[in-house]
């Protein structure tokens, strides 16, 4: 019993270390090693007029997945556009939060909605490329390069599918 508990505890400790290792490896695989240095201070978020949280791009690099959801709280779309982009995208309608597919069903395809949480790849496509986030970063991290890369990956993915 005691031996199995020691194994279990050692396994748990190792898992946490693997978890940290995975984040670093993903950052390297995404060719964005600087992502591990991000403070997650949201200085970049304050600068974005579209309400996109550029730290989400960093999180996408560390998670090794462009489909993770990030905040983008100030982009107006028609419900059908939002659904076409991603049916699971979360949008705001007044005080309510709905999935894009639900918004189309309840309000009709032409209704105006405001994005709330979108996939990192979609946020990169919607970005205006003004560079305010990069200028606002306390570390001067190359966020525009990250956005460019996500956008290219998204295009490649769209063509492939």
């Amino acid at each position: 019993m005691r031996r199995s508990l020691i194994i279990l505890n050692t396994f748990a400790l190792s898992t946490t270390m693997v978890y940290a290792g995975l984040l670093i490896v993903n950052g390297l695989r995404a060719r964005q090693p600087w992502a591990v240095t991000c403070y997650n201070c949201k200085a970049c978020t304050a600068k974005c007029i579209l309400g996109i949280d550029p730290q989400g791009f960093v999180a996408a690099a560390l998670a090794g997945n462009r489909d993770i959801y990030v905040y983008a709280t100030n982009i107006r779309l028609q419900a059908r556009q939002a659904k076409a982009m991603d049916p699971d995208m979360v949008v705001s309608v007044g005080e309510h939060r709905l999935r894009a597919s639900e918004a189309v069903e309840r309000l009709g395809p032409e209704a105006e909605v405001v994005t709330y949480r979108v996939r990192a790849g979609d946020a990169a496509r919607l970005c205006l490329d003004c560079g305010a986030c990069e200028r606002g970063c306390v570390l001067g991290l190359p966020l525009m390069r990250m956005i460019d890369q996500l956008r290219k990956d998204q295009e490649v993915h769209s063509h492939a599918s």
Partner: protein, 484 residues
């Protein structure tokens, strides 16, 4: 999903309570194991009962910055220790004790040093300052013949360090809240710093008057002997202070971890310190607990635990006598109830809800500054909560060094935070939101709070309340907080 969210939230609270209260002994199953088991259960619940989920989302909320900061802090502390910098600091403190200013001056400045320099993670300074806090603590304990003075100094410094990432202008949690709420950068900093002074004093007072009976400290005092400080000890100490000043004054666009590692290499070259000296100070427990905390937070987010919490709070605000105001007070203190090893975990998860609450509070009370007041109080509470967090919080470092049982310091720290956060709320409600790093309008407040803190420190450590050392230390603390 709400039912699953509530269930996983309950499971999390129960698991942490079981572990920290000793109902599941650490020697049987460690905290990390319990956190991971809860994370697995929460994630499994989401996979079985919720919409499809991607594995990568378990990685998304993680932030390596506090982990690497802790490691860099450990390495620099190891190098400084081997170079004799802490012996040099102890010697300087000894000399200071002999002057009119005495120990209170040094204590006020030391316990508030983390929030004066305000690094983006309190752990950066916690490790290097720990030996100095211990030296100072044992000096005053010997003088007063009262060992409780040691944890007073140590946990005063640690709770201050834990909270110090709120006012940091170089990427602290305060900037996270300012960014998400679209407020000017640095507008919460000074109010938060003064609140942290109150938190520090309250924590030290609670340890002395309320929790001394439950203190069982196995650490023994260092032998009183004359230590020969090598010349490079003073140089290494000067290098450390110069590095801190450089960071605070220049705000370099370089990750602080790199600067700390650079300073570590410089100290190694200066004093001929080997790698074994550096690695001796690295402790895996807080690192693995923090990482397990991130994994659990990700699983709780996916299973709807945090969403469920907000739903419960909104229901309470609209259906209970607490109303929006009462629940806002509850919401501010949620990070203390669910203390995570890094305040960023819960801050990022709940700030959208806090902003929504702030708007409602503005409508209900007609008080326009309600949102920034609520946001800054919440984020200060969140940042400070890594001090009392039993799951790898910064307080664990002190418990380990003093050989006190795990999470003994959680309660005095949590109560100190509970008492100190309203100071920030009051100040922010009455002072203008300022986006400049040195706002002269904050200077009288800083000096006033500094004098009060100095007088309180004098009393807590057995001096007359008007002892010059404490008062001058307080004035210097208040002034430096506003200026730097």
């Amino acid at each position: 999903m709400i039912v699953i969210g509530v269930a996983t939230l309950f499971l999390f609270v129960a698991a942490v309570l079981c572990s920290t209260r000793g109902w599941i002994p650490q020697r049987t199953i460690t905290l990390q194991t319990i956190l991971l088991l809860v994370a697995v259960l929460a994630f499994a619940a989401r996979v079985v009962f919720g919409p499809p989920v991607k594995w990568a989302e378990l990685l998304a909320p993680a932030n390596l910055h506090p982990v690497t900061s802790t490691v860099a802090g450990f390495l620099l502390a190891g190098a400084l220790s081997a170079a004799g910098a802490f012996d040099a600091a102890a010697k300087l403190l000894d000399r200071l004790t002999g002057t009119t200013l005495g120990l209170p001056f040094a204590i006020v400045l030391l316990v508030n040093l983390p929030s004066i320099f305000a690094m983006p993670c309190g752990r950066i300074l916690a490790s290097p300052l720990m030996p100095i806090a211990l030296a100072l603590g044992w000096s005053v304990a010997r003088l007063r013949n009262d060992p409780v003075m040691v944890p007073m100094v140590v946990f005063g410094m640690l709770v201050n360090a834990g909270a110090s990432c709120t006012p940091s202008l170089i990427g602290g949690i305060g900037t996270l809240a300012e960014g998400m709420g679209h407020y000017p950068q640095g507008s919460f900093a000074n109010a938060a710093q003064f609140g942290i002074v109150a938190i520090t004093i309250a924590t030290m007072a609670l340890i002395r008057f309320q929790y001394r009976a439950s203190l069982s400290m196995k650490a023994t005092p260092p032998e009183a002997r004359e230590v020969q400080v090598p010349a490079q000890g003073y140089t290494a100490l000067a290098l450390f202070v110069a590095l801190l000043l450089f960071i605070v004054l220049v705000h370099p666009k370089i990750p602080l971890q790199m600067l700390l590692v650079g300073a570590t290499l410089a100290v190694m070259a200066l004093a001929g310190v080997g790698f074994s000296d550096l690695l001796a100070g690295v402790v895996l427990h807080p690192l693995s607990a923090m990482l397990a905390g991130y994994l659990l937070a990700a699983a709780l987010t996916l299973s709807g635990g945090f969403d469920a919490l907000l739903v419960i709070l909104v229901w309470l605000a609209t259906h209970s006598p607490l109303g929006w105001l009462g629940v806002a007070v509850l919401l501010v203190n949620v990070p203390l109830m669910l203390a995570m090893p890094c305040g960023r975990i819960i801050s990022v998860s709940l700030i959208p809800g806090v902003l929504m609450f702030g708007e409602q509070l503005s409508l209900v009370t007609g008080f326009q500054a309600a949102t920034p007041v609520l946001l800054c109080s919440f984020v200060l509470c969140g940042a400070s909560s890594c001090g009392p967090s039993p799951i790898g919080g910064v307080g664990n470092i002190g418990e380990g060094r003093l050989r006190i049982r795990d999470s003994w310091s959680s309660r005095p720290q949590a109560l100190g935070i509970f008492l100190g956060v309203p100071v920030t709320a009051l100040l922010l409600a009455h002072l203008p939101l300022s986006g400049v790093s040195f706002d002269v309008r904050y200077l009288p407040v800083g000096l006033g709070i500094g004098i009060l803190a100095g007088a309180a420190t004098n009393l807590l450590f057995g001096y007359r309340f008007h002892h010059l050392g404490g008062l001058l230390g307080g004035v210097a603390t208040g002034a430096l907080m506003v200026i730097l």
